[in-house]
Amino acid sequence: MSNELIDFVIVSIALLGIGIYGLSVKRNAIRMLFAIEIIINAANLNLVAFARYIPNSGGQTLALFSIAIAAAEVAVGLSLIIVAYRMYQNIDIADFRSLKG
């Protein structure tokens, strides 16, 4: 393997930075979900990169669990966005001020 661990970690840091930029600047609820996805993928990349350097399969199993839980999170997040869109007819999170019952 010609690529080293540190290369993958640096790509993962770049993705984390882009995701945090998206979370702090964007007010579009769907774009914020994109940013969360990018951060989760950076974490998964880190997990698999470090798992390559241990002799057993524990790290890869953990990465699979992480991917599955992220899928569940996206489903719930998207349905929350749909409900909020129906209530406010907008996807700007600045309009979601009163989310009480």
Binding site: M1, S2, N3, E4, I6, D7, F8, V9, I10, V11, I13, A14, L15, I18, I20, Y21, S24, V25, K26, R27, N28, I30, R31, L33, F34, A35, E37, I38, N41, N44, L45, V48, A49, A51, R52, Y53, N56, S57, Q60, T61, A63, L64, F65, I67, I69, A71, A72, E73, V74, A75, V76, L78, S79, I81, V83, R86, M87, Y88, N90, I91
Partner: protein, 170 residues
């Protein structure tokens, strides 16, 4: 040193991550997000874990990106093409991103990670399957229940008809 495949994959992944956040249209943005997720799957292939790469393609590129595309289609046309962001926060956000990248990057480059080498053979995917049904089976069952609960909860939330009516009466 990195090879050409790695360089191409990182340009694809990081470039389409920026495009996903910055393209004006949400539809093109979600297609660019697909590019990011596919690039990550390519990294998994480079890391000798084909099983996770296939899983990533099936779960992320196959289902989550399509789910996001369908959600975008449910939104009004004007909202899809409108850029909603805090202009005042834009430079602060870019600054935060650069500080984070430079800070974390310099820490990582100075750390001992650079010298780590491995001669281990890649993990066989059969071992992962065995792990799932032997040592990790309670976690697997729990994960299945969480997934079922999340999908049911998402359906119940999205099908609530009374929400729009309540808002109208208010």
């Amino acid at each position: 040193m990195v090879d050409a495949t790695f360089l191409a994959l990182s340009v694809l992944t990081i470039g389409s991550a920026i495009a996903a956040l910055e393209l004006r249209s949400l539809i093109y943005g979600s297609i660019a997000l697909m590019g990011t997720l596919g690039g990550i799957a390519g990294f998994f292939l480079l890391l000798d874990s084909p099983f996770i790469a296939i899983f990533q393609i099936a779960v992320y590129v196959g289902s989550i990106a399509v789910l996001i595309l369908f959600t975008v289609m449910l939104v009004k046309r004007e909202l899809i093409f409108k850029k909603i962001e805090d202009r005042r926060r834009k430079f602060a956000g870019i600054g935060l991103m650069l500080i984070l990248m430079v800070g974390l990057g310099s820490i990582i480059i100075d750390s001992g990670l650079r010298t780590i080498q491995t001669d281990e053979p890649p993990v066989d995917f059969r071992d992962i399957g065995k792990d799932f049904v032997t040592y990790y089976w309670p976690a697997l069952v729990l994960m299945a229940l969480i997934l079922a609960g999340a999908v049911t909860g998402a359906l119940v939330l999205a099908r609530r008809e009374d929400v729009a009516d309540e808002q109208r009466t208010n």
